[in-house]
Symmetry: C2
Subunit: 342 residues, 2 copies
DNA sequence: ATCGATATCCAAAGCGCTTTAAATATTTTG
DNA sequence: CAAAATATTTAAAGCGCTTTGGATATCGAT
């Protein structure tokens, strides 16, 4: 059933039917009722492509997810998108998902812009000195970044958590507990978030007068295996760390396994603080959470980012929107005072 | 830059330019070259909505992901979609993602069908007696199900793994190792896959002459917490199980935590077999995998499902396609002969 | 009854593309 | 060299919607 058929059936013009359905004021309330009932009855919906052509809008938001060469699909993307989709369904938008190898990223953005298939995009996983910001500005495609650039954070819209502060505080807590050998198990530090977290970690050690050792800093995809390997490696060092600071729950699972394997007990022999994105299938709460953690819901961030983008699309000349989410530190069972081994 | 502008610039008709770009044979090779170069130079791409309107195809596939009331976003969806998107990008399709509460599912499918915004859909997480199959057939929307119906598996297309066989074999292995109290930690059994797995488990116990105890069957969202709670509960029973069969890696992490908490050692005191969907951030391989597991790559399933759907769309009168993936059992460190406790 | 204002409806253009039907060039053939 | 065949190009219609500009109906006030 299309508009023509529906309006023929009703004995009305396409104009009137279209206006009735789109709640334009210049149509009689009785007719509007009649039209809406008929539409419901035949479950008529305006064809997306046709109305998009006519209005110049696609009512679709693109999410472009970078895949690196290791082909790891970071679970936080799924959770972020679950949040974003809440906003879209509320406001009548659709979500288009594209996964792209880093090396063809620029051409994909160009393609998306010229095809006009989306009204805006969410940029995931910004890197250090990410070229996508300038590109998108040039392409005139509305966008919101989940994260930030490192050099410039004023002339575009973003939502981010306070990575640096979170890791500063976490590091400081470990130092206050007496730890001086603290191992950082971080995400890939070509990514902005991981770079910021490292900054927080290093700053805190500096401020506390502790040395920063390259041997205690690991970075890579936040997989269970990488967490395990990093922690195993660190624990085998002659001057092994007594605490770990881990950038994700998933990575921390590997760290915990390594600790167990070394015959140590997490929370007693070794302290661990994680950043917890609050993935729905890894709840870290309850009276005493498993892990001491800095916490920030990535699903929530997804919803806010999406709303922000829709606002920008509605009001194009508004100045950029930014939002910095806090990631409070909550104490769980995985931390304790340093224990002198011997 | 649109088609009119491009063809004006070239001094050709829109027809010829369009044909040149779409590789129609009736255009001179020289002109084609000229057109393609100009298109590249101005980075012209046909507007998606316009060409969609003209051809009647949207070149996008919809993925509809059910969210239950617990709001858990199952990580396998992300991984499946990562696979599917590979197929789409190869064949020029886009991916539209919709998350939907179970109660509004039917209306969403109807809406999608009448809006015509997708050429086909992938159906995720089929339930026992799922009404969506009949609905989609009625709506004439091409679809592929990741999973199957329980009563009928002939007149529609699906891709599934052999859930029943996998869990039959896994159960049998545990029995062969001497276990007789085997606890099943399953997904929500209103879902088809979990229902089939339970069938395999029950059949194997029956065949081996062992009793099936309701106390040893848990089902629910496959979260870490649920795995932990189920296993903790089971281990506290007077006649506690000596082995666990767990439907996912994530759930098994919880089970493992409960085993540790009970002061037991996985692989020695307690055996565990999981189903491993081969999530990219939870590799369970190496010389001796952590977990004995039935394995089947869900990312691979995603890619195959997508290709299957695209084939169906290309050749609508072809009979339904089906594919049953095997999930071979591989031995890891988490299983061993039953140990008499005392 | 008549006029202007207001409410309600409609015909037709246009969004940017593909494709049908037809026109024009170019080759081939006898 | 003309006719027939083939190669190449084009004008125009149409996809299903929104929206502009106008038409028609209705109403209160004169």
């Amino acid at each position: 059933m299309n508009l023509k058929q529906l309006s023929d059936q009703l004995g009305l013009s396409q104009t009137t039917v279209s206006r009735a359905l789109n709640n334009y004021p210049e149509v009689n309330e009785d007719t509007r009722e009649r039209v809406k009932n008929a539409a419901r009855k035949h479950s008529y919906r305006p064809n997306t492509r046709a109305s998009g052509l006519a209005t110049g809008k696609s009512m679709t938001i693109g999410h472009i997810i970078p895949m690196n060469s290791t082909e790891v699909f970071n679970p936080i993307f799924g959770e972020f998108i679950a949040g974003a989709s809440r906003a879209y369904s509320k406001r009548g938008y659709e979500l288009s998902l594209t996964m792209v190898q880093e090396d063809s990223e620029e051409s994909i953005y160009r393609e998306i812009a010229s095809k006009g298939s989306v009204d805006g995009v969410i940029v995931h996983a910004p890197r250090v000195n990410d070229s996508r910001i300038a590109l998108l500005q040039q392409l005139q495609l509305p966008f919101v970044i989940h994260g930030r650039d490192n050099s410039n954070e004023t002339d575009y819209s973003w939502i981010d958590m306070n990575n640096r502060r979170a890791f500063y505080q976490a590091t400081k807590l470990l130092v206050d507990l007496g730890h001086s050998r603290i191992c950082l198990v971080n995400g890939s530090e070509s990514l902005n978030f991981a770079w910021r977290r490292r900054l927080g970690y290093v700053d805190a050690l500096d401020d506390e007068g502790l040395s920063v050792s390259a041997d205690l800093m690991y970075s890579g995809d936040l997989t269970e295996a990488n967490g395990y390997n990093a922690a195993s490696d660190a624990l085998a060092q002659s001057d092994a760390p007594t605490a770990f600071l881990v950038s994700s729950y998933v990575g921390a699972l590997g760290v915990r396994r390594a600790i167990h394997n070394a015959g140590l007990v997490m929370g007693k022999d070794i302290s661990v603080i994680i950043h917890d994105d609050e993935l729905s299938y890894f709840q870290n709460d309850g009276d005493i959470p498993q892990f001491t953690a800095t916490r920030s819901s990535v699903r929530d961030a997804g919803e806010r980012a999406a709303m922000m983008l829709l606002d920008i699309i509605d009001q194009p000349d508004k100045s950029p929107l930014t939002e910095l989410l806090d990631a409070p530190l909550t104490i769980g069972a995985s931390t304790g005072p340093v224990k002198k081994l011997m």
